[in-house]
């Protein structure tokens, strides 16, 4: 290896930034979808109806036992069979991410709700509040504070896993780095640079979450 060449990174910055845009867009959309579906699943898991509970629990167990990579392939090959035409790698990956992350978000939300002690719910009901009001005024505000740091860390994890989309040809940040590196025969520089960027973003993010947690902890 002949020295570390920074020039190539500066020259291809527009391409790398474009890739980072794709990574971040995928992260944001997957969080929005995964969090919504996860919240619904969490409500189902806490339902009084046994069949509903079992359904949500099965969903969580099933999706948590499969590798994300396999799920991305699943939708990349499955959806075209329904639609009759191929779909973009980005869409296939987004569907896989939403369904996969929903299982994790569901568990975080559920354990957040269950972290509020049973006695408080009973006390609320005993004072004559209806169940909905107990949830809204007593359980959810506390549950929310408990689960926010864990949810944010899961979002950072999600951002890290978006790098997997390269298997279906999406030009995310890592793929952009690889393309530049292969083109200019400087894979070493580009991979080290990519690692540093991911590290900075994820480490910084985790630090922020920690600070937030300390300030708002119950």
């Amino acid at each position: 290896m002949s020295g570390f060449d920074l020039g190539v990174i500066i020259r291809s910055l527009p391409l790398l930034l474009e890739g980072m845009g794709v990574s971040l867009l995928l992260t944001v959309l997957a969080i929005a979808g995964g969090l919504s579906l996860g919240a619904v699943l969490a409500v189902l898991r806490l339902s009084r109806l046994r069949a509903v509970r079992t359904f949500a629990a099965t969903y969580v167990v099933l999706f948590r036992s499969l590798p994300l990579l396999l799920l991305i392939f699943w939708f990349y090959f499955l959806i075209p069979l329904f639609l009759g035409h191929p779909i973009a790698g980005f869409d296939a990956a987004l569907i896989a991410f939403v369904l996969f992350e929903a299982a994790f978000f569901c568990e975080i939300i559920r354990s957040g709700i269950q972290s509020v002690r049973q006695g408080q719910i009973m006390a609320g009901l005993a004072t004559g509040l209806p169940y909905g009001a107990v949830m809204r005024a007593i359980v959810l505000p506390q549950a929310f504070r408990n689960m926010v740091p864990v949810l944010l860390l899961q979002c950072i994890n999600l951002f890290k896993s978006t790098s997997l989309v390269y298997v279906v040809g999406v030009r995310d940040f890592l793929t952009a780095a690889e393309i530049v590196g292969t083109r200019d025969h400087q894979l070493t520089e580009l991979y080290v640079f990519a690692a540093l960027v991911y590290f900075t973003l994820c480490f910084g993010g985790a630090r922020l979450v920690k600070r937030l947690e300390r300030r708002y902890a119950l």
């Binding site: 499969l66 590798p67 990579l69 090959f77 069979l81 997997l164 298997v167 070493t188 080290v192 480490f203």
Partner: protein
């Protein structure tokens, strides 16, 4: 949806053998990496609780480096970058003479990454023990090594068992990333066969079922270990 199912494709020669060989690689890769990660992770986790500051910082740096970079990038760093920055002779050996490079590089990537996860759980387990216990042991004349050997590790590791179980289940799923550097493990094989046969659904259903069975088996094993290692009078499974 028009799709002609042909389940016999899973069992035809040579595809069945390919699936089996993929499964073998997935299991071998995961188990070897887990063994290494467990040893390395315990050492790093213990180092994170050390008295000496530089040992603690070094261990923390290791954990943060591996936790904050995507696993896929770690695979690429070990496969493409490490041979370049190693000393010249070692780099040449890796490039020319290392037998089955995809497999052994995957073992290195997966075990160094998982070690960071294991280290965090071991550290958390040790730190969950009230400080007074270690102090009392030191005051009664035990050496620092003995404090770890007889007080901190037997309790701390048992507290960490449930969380370590999660990492054990994860390592099988994470092993699928080895396909990125060309290892023909289970996920890679099923994708390959689905391209050869145009029967993607049968292949992906088979692979998913296999991963599901692996997850169920590992969960059952971990629950058995958890039951046997549980500390009487302590709630080891975090309820929050």
């Amino acid at each position: 949806m028009r799709y002609s199912w042909k389940w016999s494709a899973v069992l035809t020669d040579p595809y069945f053998d390919w699936i089996i060989s993929g499964l073998e690689l997935t299991l071998l890769l995961s188990l070897i990496s887990w063994a290494i990660a467990l040893v390395l992770g315990c050492l790093i986790g213990i180092a994170r609780t050390a008295e000496t500051k530089w040992i603690r910082s070094l261990a923390a740096a290791y954990v943060e480096c591996f936790r904050n970079v995507p696993l896929l990038v770690i695979f690429f760093l070990w496969y493409f970058v490490a041979p370049e920055i190693l000393p010249r002779n070692a780099g040449l050996w890796v490039k020319r003479d290392l037998p089955f490079p995809e497999f052994w590089t995957s073992v290195v990537a997966l075990s160094t990454y998982t070690a960071a996860m294991v280290a965090e759980q071991v550290r958390a387990g040790i730190e969950a023990i009230p400080r007074g216990q270690a102090n009392a042991a030191l005051a009664s004349g035990l050496t620092r090594w003995q404090v770890y050997r007889y007080i901190l590790l037997p309790v701390g590791l048992r507290i960490a068992v449930p969380a370590l179980g999660n990492e054990f289940i994860n390592i099988f799923k994470n092993s699928s990333l080895a396909l990125s550097i060309g290892l023909l493990e289970l996920t890679s094989r099923t994708r390959q066969i689905s391209e050869y046969t145009y029967q993607p659904l049968e292949m992906f259903i088979t692979a998913s079922a296999v991963y599901f069975v692996i997850a169920m088996l590992t969960t059952a094993i971990m629950m058995a270990i958890e039951r046997r290692s549980r500390l009487p009078g302590m709630i080891t499974r975090a309820t929050r």
